[in-house]
Subunit: 149 residues, 2 copies
């Protein structure tokens, strides 16, 4: 597919010729108020660059997978669970999710969290936590307070 | 290489644990006032995400190559030559450089132009224009005025 050489950002982090998509199929996994924008999908690069936006009060799916995520926060601020720690993140911060690491993004109170995420074009499907995984994660109070499932 | 889970942006588009590099080896190609920051290099992804910053009055190399560029403008504004057109670009705009397309980035007057660029980890070396290429490019007045070599 040939992309238009320049696709401008329109108001409110929507881009020309980029259709906002559902984050995931409704009911396929727990999440709330997340949109997905494939900025560079079918490229010659073997990787994709997506923009995800989580509305105030929303959260991405708590999940892990073999593929890695390379993330740059593009809008707002929030917190992210990576493995066994919850980190605060703000605009332009870099987030690395290594393979098979539990992760979940949530905006700070009352704001939107938008981030770029680079992944392999060919990648495995995310895994959801089993009850034993949740039990292990919840043994840490800060994680127990943070995660949404 | 395992990256730190979170690397914060410090003042002025410099990142924790990311060393600003020379854009290219001095004298290897024409360019002016460009820095290179490898945000995600040796990842599990097969692609790299770099940040380039061009100071006011600077320019990237006029070049082409077989590999594609997927670009997001992260800071400031400017103009970019893509093939046979010069486009204005501003913060968060997306720029697609298809294989073997001449391209060059320049900031708008008096500002800095910073952009993210996703590329294949394994890629060919850029080609510089021969005098016949420059002649062809300069046949278009807007390009002739724009390019710096």
């Amino acid at each position: 597919m040939t992309l238009k050489p320049v696709r401008r950002m329109q108001a409110n982090h929507q881009w020309e010729a980029v259709t906002p998509l559902h984050y995931k199929e409704e009911g396929s996994a727990p999440f709330k108020d997340v949109s997905r924008h494939v900025l560079f999908g079918d490229t010659h690069i073997g990787a994709e660059l997506r923009y995800f936006e989580v509305s105030a009060g929303g959260y991405t799916t708590l999940e892990r997978h073999e593929h890695a995520h390379a993330v740059l926060i593009l809008r707002g601020a929030g917190r992210v669970l990576i493995g066994d720690e919850v980190h605060e993140v703000a605009c332009n911060d870099l987030v690395s999710i290594a393979p098979m690491t539990w992760h979940q993004f949530r905006p700070a109170d009352g704001v939107v969290l938008g981030f770029l995420c680079m992944v392999n074009q060919s990648r495995d499907r995310p895994q959801l936590p089993h009850s034993s995984d949740l039990e292990r994660l919840r043994a840490t109070p800060a994680i127990s307070e943070f995660i949404r499932v």
